[in-house]
Amino acid sequence: MSKQGTPRVAQASSLRPGRGAQAGSLRYTDRAALEKTWAHAPGLLGWLSETDHKKIGLRYIITALCFFTIAGIEAALMRLQLSRPENTLLNPDLYNQIFTMHGTTMMFLFAVPVMEGMAIYFVPLMVGTRNVAFPKLNAFGYFIYLAGGIFLYTMFVLHAGPDAGWFAYVPLSGPQFDPGKRADTWAQMITFTEISALSVAIEISVTAFKQRAVGMSLNRIPLFVWSMIVISFMIIFAMPAVMLDSGFLCLDREVSTHFFNRSEGGDPIFYQHMFWFFGHPEVYIIFIPALGYVSSILTVFTRRKIFGYPVMVASLVFTAFMAFGLWVHHMFATGLPQLGQSFFTAASMMIAIPTGAQIFNWIVTIWTGRLTIRTPVLYVLGWFAVFIIGGLSGIILASVPLDVQVHDTYFVVAHFHYVLIGGALFPLFGAFYFWFPKWTGRMYGEKLGQLSFWLLLIGFNLTFFPMHILGLEGMPRRVYTYQQGLGWGPLNATASIGAGIIALSVLTTVINFFVNARSGAFAGANPWNADTLEWSVSSPPPPYNYVYPPVVSGPNALWDAAPDQPYVVGLRTDKREVLVTQVLDAQPSHREELPGHSLAPFLLAIATTIGLAGSIFFAWWFPIGLGLVGLVMIYWFWPRKEDVIDHLVEEQREILREEPAV
């Protein structure tokens, strides 16, 4: 099981070009030709027209980390403000904006995009193809996400940052109580990020279903890829709800519709239903990829297959379905019918079942494997502890009487930071350490990595555990300060010190990565002797990923490969061609050409931004934007000269071939 992957590729690349060719006129895979066909374009225009999934994926990840840093600074400001009673560092208005920006940025500009970035980078590599199914759409998704982030922060700097919380409940965010442009900024930023997420969902699901390596039938897909498939489907069904909801909010504010206006037949509670119908699945969209990272990391560091693969996949799918059936537990305090409350309590508790099944499977995997402790593993173990605490407080919150008691207190803040930081950020950082060698070709510093983990674990618990107690003592969330006599000072001060330690932990990770990306030890293709396909190509992978697309004969592709594992030949090298396979059993279906560089995605993002950002100031910008989008679309689909020439040549050949017969 050790190094089967690496030699296989070496063997493949030493293959003489043209070997295996039966039909002489066809050109066969050849590294030099692939280098030329898949080359990155130089310069700024090249950067703007790039469609390589690895470049775009890294852009997503780096941009998301920038937003993570900004949102982290906002969190630090809040902690400074709350570190002692009656502090005056931030005024109430700025505090409202800061906590809204913190939540909005973390959810929409960091957590979801960073998971998408990981999917974009690794799904094509793990399924053994050369690019995502729709490279131009992929590039567009990134630009529109970036535009949304820039838009939000531009408005924030212009003193129009949203200030009604990250879910912007009406009527607080409605036209009556939130004049100005603040809530519009929030609502429109949603549209930007959701367009981006939906684009990613489409291309990841199609890539994972149609472009898998020959032999990678559904029961051999890596759990990482399964988790990304599951979140893609969740995005497809959840995001339209919030786009419509924030759209309604915009319409109510801009053109006086009455969706949420009780006096004209609307209903503010409906806003919450629509929001949480998206918002609850959103939590799982952030959390399920983390399950994929945990499975990847544990497989490699316990040196065994994940125990209970079918149960793991079924749990992911079951969690996704359940996630759509418990949104109302966010709304227990709105006075819903008791039967509804009981139903959603039961549903919320049921979601512990699939998660529990997975956790027990991982425990068995660790128990029966040989666990090596490295930084990624530490992060996974930390995740176990922290996430289980968050899960337990979740079960507590699912009970209506308790929920009503601690609603809108710091208990809730503690709970969701335990599940989000614990559930997603720990595995994400573990994943960064795990795949750092693949990205850079070099190893990270192990000691500094382990230090960053311990700092995060200590800092995190120091920050958020006291919040449970503060919440039970009655401290409401989203207050900019509290009085001296309430006795909340010491616990708040502890939390603020913890926040400092978290910042230190992130800083050590950043330093570790920056330094070792240049001067770390060389990693080689597969430093961990890992099992998934991405480890069979060089680090960082070449633009075309695979000289010869791999063939898979087991769920742990590299470990299950025979010494003379077959591979695929016969894809054209003068075009960006990929092999399309069948959905269920991944048998070869046909070849398809993917588009190369194009400026169209960037232009489309600009046109969309003009329409969306303009429309919150003047409604007619929206149709103007649509018109511009139409113009860019004409350019996007313009027939390429090469295609037409290719077609004519092919036609000519057909005629020549038929002539003798005539």
Partner: protein, 205 residues
């Protein structure tokens, strides 16, 4: 054979059927938009449960002439599009060059019908929540009609001016599928906007 390879060079380069990547991508987009439409219907149904007066008593039951003509044209327009679709599968050019422009024509007539309907609706989006949701349903679907009409026109233009490659035939097929989607999604909306008010008509006031 000495080298254990799977040679795919004999497999077709691209297809015009439902195995193609873009066919699946198109399907995904329709699922997203379909979810959006379903949410719009959910909005209508939800608001209906919280209002006793629904549709508001000030709203007259709609006149059915233009809407029904609009619906009839939508349904009939499927025929030329289907013709072009099936021809594109066989990579045949002429039906594409007739079917798609016919769809564009149908689209324009539908837009005219919608213009007539909206100007005679008798209430605005800002009058009450019922008006808001009905106008949004119209707006959402109208954007799709415009998009589908433009798409048909654009693809027909490409096919008329340049030699039609396999990729373009595939585009024709995706455009056609999208057109069916636009037609099918209007059916529940027609029911909600035009039939329900008649079903719920209160006695003469």
């Amino acid at each position: 054979m000495t080298a254990r390879v799977i040679d795919v060079s004999e497999l077709p380069e691209g297809t015009t059927d439902s195995r193609a990547l873009i066919w699946w991508g198109n399907l995904g987009m329709m699922v997203i938009e379909g979810t959006m439409f379903a949410m719009a219907i959910a909005t209508y149904l939800y608001l209906r449960t919280v209002n006793i007066d629904w549709p508001p008593s000030t709203v007259q039951p709609p006149v059915l002439f233009w809407p029904t003509l609009d619906l009839a044209i939508l349904i009939v327009s499927v025929a030329p599009v289907l013709w072009a679709d099936l021809a594109a599968k066989r990579e045949e050019k002429t039906p594409v060059l007739i079917g798609l422009p016919a769809a564009v024509l149908a689209g324009l007539v539908i837009l005219f019908c919608r213009y007539r309907i909206l100007t005679n609706l008798g209430y605005k989006w800002s009058d009450h929540a019922y008006g808001s949701v009905i106008w949004v349903i119209f707006g959402l679907h109208l954007m799709h009609v415009i998009a589908a009409t433009c798409e048909c026109g654009l693809v027909a233009f490409y096919c008329a001016v340049w030699p039609v490659t396999k990729k373009k035939y595939l585009d024709v097929r995706c455009t056609a599928v999208y057109w069916y989607f636009v037609v099918i999604t209007w059916l529940p909306f027609y029911f909600i906007v035009y039939i329900v008010p008649w079903m719920q008509r209160k006695g003469p006031s």
